[in-house]
Amino acid sequence: MFRRADLRLAAAGAVLLAATSLMPGWLLVLAATALAKGIVALGLLLLMRAGLVPFGQAMFYCLGGYAAGLGSLWLGIRDVLLLLLLAGLAAGAAGWVVGLLIRRYRGIFFAMLSMAFSMILYGVLLKSQDLGSSDGFSVPRPTLLGLTMTGTPALRILFAVTVLLTVLLAWGVSAYLRTAMGQIGPAIRQNEVRVSYLGYEPDRLIHREYAASGLLAGVAGALVAMLVGQVDPGMGFWMTSGEFVFIAILAGTGGIWGSLGAAFILEAVHAIAFDVAPTYWRLILGGTLLVMILRFPAGLSSLAPRRVRRA
């Protein structure tokens, strides 16, 4: 059940938790955002192992954020854990519904359909004056198990929740990748017909993994919404999806560490570029991505040692 890799994950989580009291506010927000994007990347990992690249993952990220916000404002739910659950379920359900259609498509059609759905959501949110249109609306600070949080302690608590959630979800994905079902994705990518001839319907797996990736992105969106205290339709814009795809490509499909590492690296480069070259940060970010992809075409996860001789 628990492998050495899981212990490493728990250790990393413990280190981050220990560092919480040392980290200033800006670093807490930055690191928490990086972890949240890492969670989205975990969902993308599943789909990319099956050979699919969704260009609309921001849809679920945005839905999760709005679910957390509306859950606070309309349903009066203030507990952070309940809001995360609500966001995950809402986004997962949306993923399941969209999956009914999208499960049959592959390649560019899958990518574009995914993007189309996300732009529909974006358009609806933009037009909705009740939801603040492009300004979005504020998400109040959540409570944790009844305790209200303010100021920097609130940030520390949210960061700690993010760390724990990331460790939990990463462990979950890692365990899933070790099961039989976790092998079907790569099998579909390598030879889809053979999978059906082994008695498993490829569309069915893709549907499930798509819904799961939606759930993960939704949880991430809710975390960021509560951290930043604001949601807006930009969370669902295609450029946000593009950022997630960048992370996933940099990560590669080897395993969870690539996904989490890539999210951290890109967030760090983004922050450094922002500081160092406020007018040219996009150039630096794009250039860094290009250099890293050329150096590691199979992604960062290809750096992990392999016990198996592969082509």
């Binding site: 800006w26 670093l27 358009g123 249109s133 300004d135 951290l227 946000t240 500081d275 406020p278 940060w281």
Partner: protein
């Protein structure tokens, strides 16, 4: 050995990053300017950047004209501006704001072109107790939805535009019966139309709306909407299209002659007049978020400002430039007052006390921090018709009406949306001047 030194180096770097502030902030007053440096809004906000740099230099050199002549710096300290790109999403802006306060030693943060960023950052500024002065962002919501100690805005908000334009139409175009609009379908456009429609309903209750067009923001292609408006022939058309969208609309619309059958009211036209100049049809009614630019009352300050700006950038400053200049002048006045004659760096709360409810001179006229408990500015504004002097090759404005601040800004404690709807109660319009 090599490995150990790598670890030491990494640890030292980490420690350096985690140190709040730094030795830099001791002498100079560090002002962070958050403004779109990249992306679609950059072109509209570049004049703001330009003006900020001009003002900072002049403040440090002591070359400002009256009433700011005499004292160099702000409260005796040299001003250092540094810029941050207002892009990348709210989460990025919030974490960058914290970085400004905790890592980069910003004493003051100013700028902000986008309403979404303003709304996201205001609570954080308050939490971190960082003096934040918004120069541009337009939504009334900031000080109507919440109250702040550390957040200020040195420009009036868009309610003023809608009130002034409606009153102008009532006075100059009393025959208007039907109104149409074309506004981009996002917060800015939606809010602008809602406010203008409410103001028109109050000012001219006999008018009715006959055409509504909501193109997508950034679309750039308005043929269908123009056809629809041309078919309905409203007496008046309102548009808050801005930047390149505005330019595209003007070009496409004038080719169809839309301005011949409908009078056009464009609150954000002023931002495009330098780029478009003679391509804008005559007679379009516009304003400048205050008596800025072509509407500025003559003063030594305005002459100085426009001369320097034009000398350096070969064009007249538009209202975003005026707004950034106003912010820096407000800060200078507050810092000078709080520092007192001794010249020691005043505490932030003293600066806040000096800024709150203050009145100061800007190139566009007098600005009073009268709303939001002394944190939100009001100012006079003016509305006029666009003209282009072909002989002199300059943009001009005709049939100007100046509206005093108390006429077109909601009174303290009122909510803008309701104020416009209810007929602008409490407005004092006794000082209107027609030129």
């Amino acid at each position: 050995m090599r490995r150990l030194s790598k670890i030491t180096l990494a640890a030292a770097a980490l420690a350096a990053c985690l140190q709040a502030g730094g030795a830099l902030a001791q002498e100079k007053l560090r002002i962070a300017v958050v403004t779109p440096l990249t992306g679609p809004l950059a072109s509209v906000n570049v004049p703001g950047q330009n003006a900020a740099r001009i003002l900072a230099e002049a403040i440090n050199a002591g070359t400002l004209p009256a009433p700011y002549s005499g004292r160099r710096g702000m409260g005796g300290a040299e001003v250092e501006l540094f810029f941050l790109d207002e892009n990348g999403g709210n989460a990025k802006q919030v974490s960058e704001f914290r970085g400004l306060a905790e890592r980069r030693g910003a004493d003051v943060v100013m700028g902000f072109g986008s309403a979404a960023t303003c709304l996201a950052v205001a609570p954080v500024a308050e939490e971190l107790k960082v003096l934040t002065v918004m120069s541009t962002c337009a939504t009334p919501r900031i000080f109507e939805d919440a109250s702040y100690e550390y957040v200020f805005r040195t420009t009036a908000h868009t309610t003023m535009d809608s009130a002034a334009l409606a009153l102008y139409v009532r006075q100059r175009l009393p025959e208007v019966r039907t109104v149409g609009h074309i506004n981009p379908n996002f917060a800015l456009g939606q809010d602008s139309w809602r406010d203008f429609a409410a103001a028109m309903k109050s000012a001219m209750p006999a008018t009715r709306v006959v055409a509504e067009q909501w193109p997508t923001m950034g679309s750039g292609q308005y043929t269908a909407e123009i056809s629809a408006l041309a078919a309905r022939r409203p007496d008046l058309i309102h548009t808050s299209l801005t930047g390149t969208d505005m330019e595209a609309f003007m070009t496409q619309m004038s080719a169809r002659g839309l301005q011949e059958q409908s009078r056009i009211v464009a609150p954000l036209l002023e931002l495009a007049i330098n780029r478009m100049g003679r391509q804008i049809p005559e007679g379009i009614i516009f304003t400048a978020r205050g008596t800025n630019g072509l509407f500025a009352p003559p003063s030594a300050l305005n002459t100085w400002f426009t001369d320097i700006y034009r000398g350096r950038h070969n064009e007249m400053p538009v209202f975003t430039a005026y707004q950034y200049a106003a912010t820096l002048l407000a800060l200078k006045a507050a810092y000078d007052k709080a520092a007192g004659p001794a010249g020691a760096r005043p505490a932030t709360r003293d600066v806040i006390a000096a800024l709150r409810s203050s009145t100061f001179e800007a190139p566009g006229g007098t600005i009073r921090m009268a709303l939001g408990n002394g944190h939100q500015a009001i100012q006079d504004t003016a509305v006029g018709e666009f003209g282009f002097d072909r002989r002199a090759n300059v943009t001009t404005v005709r049939n100007v009406t100046v509206f005093p601040a108390a006429c077109v800004n909601p009174p303290a404690g009122a909510r803008s949306e309701a104020w416009l709807r209810d007929g602008m109660p409490g407005a004092d319009c006794s000082g209107i001047v027609n030129r």
